[in-house]
Amino acid sequence: MKKRWFGYGAWLLLAACLYFFENNTGTRVVLLCTLLLPFVPPVRRAFFSPDESRKDETRESLTVRTFERREPEDSGDVRRYVPGDSVRRIHWKLSAKKDELLVRETAAGEAVCGQEKNVTRVDAGRKRKVSRQLAAAFAAGILLCALLLLLIPEARHSMQGLLNRVFSASEAVNSYVYSRFAVPENQSVLPAAILLLCACMLLLGITLVLGSRLTALGIMAVCVLFQVYFGLAFPSWVNILLGILFAGWNLRRPVRRKELAAFGAFILLVTLMTVIFLPGVNADTEAASEKVRDRLTQMAEQITGTVPESPAGETETRHIHTRSLENGDREAETEQEFRLVTVEEEQISMPHWINWVKMILLLLLSVLVVALPFTPFLLLNARKKKARENRKAFVSENVSEGIRAIFGQIVVWLETVHPGAENLLFRDRAGVLPEDLPEGYAERFARCAADFEEATYSLHPMPEEKRREVMDLLKETETALWNHSNRRQRFYLKYWMCLHE
């Protein structure tokens, strides 16, 4: 029920947004697609129909038996009983009503009663699931398109606008990267190619061994950066294909929805990365990217000192954000507007928000640097204080409380030195104690564990001797652990676990 309203609400909102923002054919297609969404059966089932119906279906589909019985009509099908008629054809109900024996005329009313229909739909669930996934992917695609169109204003005007926007972004980042890492003139392509190949092999190996998508992403990034650095770019589709291949290899079957989402996000990231870092999105923009590469070479030369004059007449059509610092006077009237201007390329300036990011990072870093030397002391002091408070519970008035605190402390110490028995009951912990503890320790531990259980879970008053017994075990544990641990463990025990507090 909830789901249906949510689905329709989102759908209406999306359609309304698109309607208000739409002013060209590009968006109208998306709007049309959006409007059609609830009529595509799998999408409707996934997002617009209530959840309960699905559950009921699967539950009932296991075994459905229907008992059918056809009652003969009152008068037409029956007649008086005459000797010789089969007793089985007597219509007992009507006979009782009419007080005379009546028999069925037709054979149809006979023995239909026991008929069983057995309906099993085993595969239905799986099929529905796959179609749900497809529907989810479809709807996500539409949503993404809509979101892109809404977020990037130029995209509303034309596809070219969207590409230009992406292109200018990639240009900015590219120029920044090239300005940071200037490519020497005499750089050979061969070592770069070898390195790239190595990176790819490494990526393949690690993704196969670790099965981690994050690693794949990291090395994919390295791979792309290499390409940028050495100016040896694969076409984008090769990069995207590589990404899909490596990440897709790790998809577990049957594919879960979460996994699919992660996979989608990964592909999106790789795509964005290649689109932003590497010039040339497709065949149409390949020519444009050629120009960029030329310009970048010029820039590199500019940076290294030799400043060639730009070829006459080489101008670039691109979007310029009018709200830049130089054009302050124009800011007021054309705020948040983008328009096409023809400018001669003189220099590439970084977007101004980079400065803000830098400042925030610097601030965080300085706070970290100032606070860092003090943190260990603060932490250790807090630990010490807490340990002392814990000790207070050892000698509390309530003996049960004391036993619980002491035994808990014993287990905490034991597990810091000998981890690996997570989530065992204390009673069962006695069976997996380390071997280097003194003779008879395990039995005492088991006895105290029983005392602990009684103290924790029963209402019995506990005698003082029991507390003393557990306290002895604590002391024994303390010495045993101290004697059997190495320097690193001792350091940890003393300062972090406050063994001798």
């Binding site: 989530n423 924790t456 029963s458 209402l459």
Partner: protein, 317 residues
């Protein structure tokens, strides 16, 4: 363990060898006043076990072999017209006056019969023609379900499975046990040697004591966390119901009592968890590679036990 209960187990073991654990579990369920679903292949001694138990505890025993044409009136009784007196006379059904009812192959009964039985199990009374008859006390149903040859059977719906306290399985005897069984039955029937070591009144007294076993909040917290975790597990479609949680506490109490304690520990909950919850958890269709048992084990492993709940808060590296 209490001597009386030890005696009962010893008596039952005269006829069923090497199944001490299951006998203990059944006795625990009896103490917890819950019903048992036995899920097993034919011929491993389900009926023998039930008969021996009823003899050892001095309970009246009846057995109903369910088939598709057993009707609710067979269980609950019905009224017939007595021509001489001109009145309707109630003929009691199999449920009336029975302490221990063995419902064989309950999944073969039609759903109306199943629901009539389960209704009686829950309410411990039956109503026929507006007249309410209460069942004998204690009233324990041991229902069996064959896991083979399921053609033409009606599986117990999930809601009805939920009413059984535990689902157990007897399993085949090992070599020693089977040899002993064959040897014992060479010339005599050991069933005749089973004698009554616990009267019905004593059993009821024990059941009363079980009800007064201490359960602290820490244990209730553990049970709640376990059941919640079962509902949130990724492979689970339907998790443990609140009734399941209630039954778990009841079973844990009986378990603690059987061990001679008057308080429930985390270990008791862990011991009964699998038996109480196995039939209450429904896995998703997509979770083919896992089984209910594995999911429950995982839950036990993942959920922090009450002994150490909160112990390591802020302690780990």
């Amino acid at each position: 363990m209490r001597e009386q209960l030890e005696n009962v187990i010893a008596e039952v073991e005269k006829v069923i060898a090497g199944k001490r654990k299951v006998i203990e579990k059944i006795l625990t369920a009896l103490l917890a006043e819950g019903h048992i679903l036995l899920d097993d292949v034919p011929g491993v001694g389900k009926t023998t076990l039930a008969v021996a138990l009823s003899r050892a505890v001095g309970l009246s025993f009846r057995r109903v072999q369910f088939t598709p044409d057993v009707l609710p009136s067979d269980l609950m009784g019905f009224s017939v017209y007595n021509r001489e007196s001109g009145t309707f006379v109630y003929q009691p059904g199999a449920l009336i006056g029975t302490n221990l009812l063995l419902g064989d192959e309950i999944n073969r009964a039609s759903s109306k019969t199943q629901s009539a039985l389960l209704e009686a199990m829950e309410e411990r009374q039956v109503t026929v023609d507006g007249q309410t008859y209460s069942l004998a006390s204690p009233f324990l149903v041991i229902a069996t379900e064959n896991s083979v040859g399921t053609a033409g059977t009606q599986f117990l719906p999930y809601a009805q499975m939920d009413r059984f306290l535990v689902r157990l399985s007897l399993g085949y005897p090992d070599y020693e046990a089977q040899m002993k069984m064959l040897r014992d039955r060479r010339e005599r029937n050991p069933m005749e040697e089973v004698c009554c070591v616990l009267t019905r009144e004593e059993l009821q007294e024990l059941q009363r004591e079980v009800r007064s076993v201490t359960v602290k909040d820490a244990i209730l917290d553990y049970v709640t966390r376990l059941t919640m975790a079962s509902r949130e597990h990724e492979a689970v479609e339907v998790g443990v119901s609140p009734r399941g949680a209630l039954f778990m506490v009841r079973m844990a109490k009986a378990k603690a009592f059987l061990e001679g304690r008057d308080y429930v520990t985390g270990g008791d909950v862990q011991t009964v968890f699998g038996d109480v919850c196995a039939h209450r958890v429904l896995l998703k269709e997509s979770a083919e590679e896992t089984s209910v048992g594995r999911v429950l084990d995982e839950l036990l492993k993942k959920t922090e036990n009450p002994d150490r709940h909160g112990l390591f808060a802020g302690m780990k590296k």
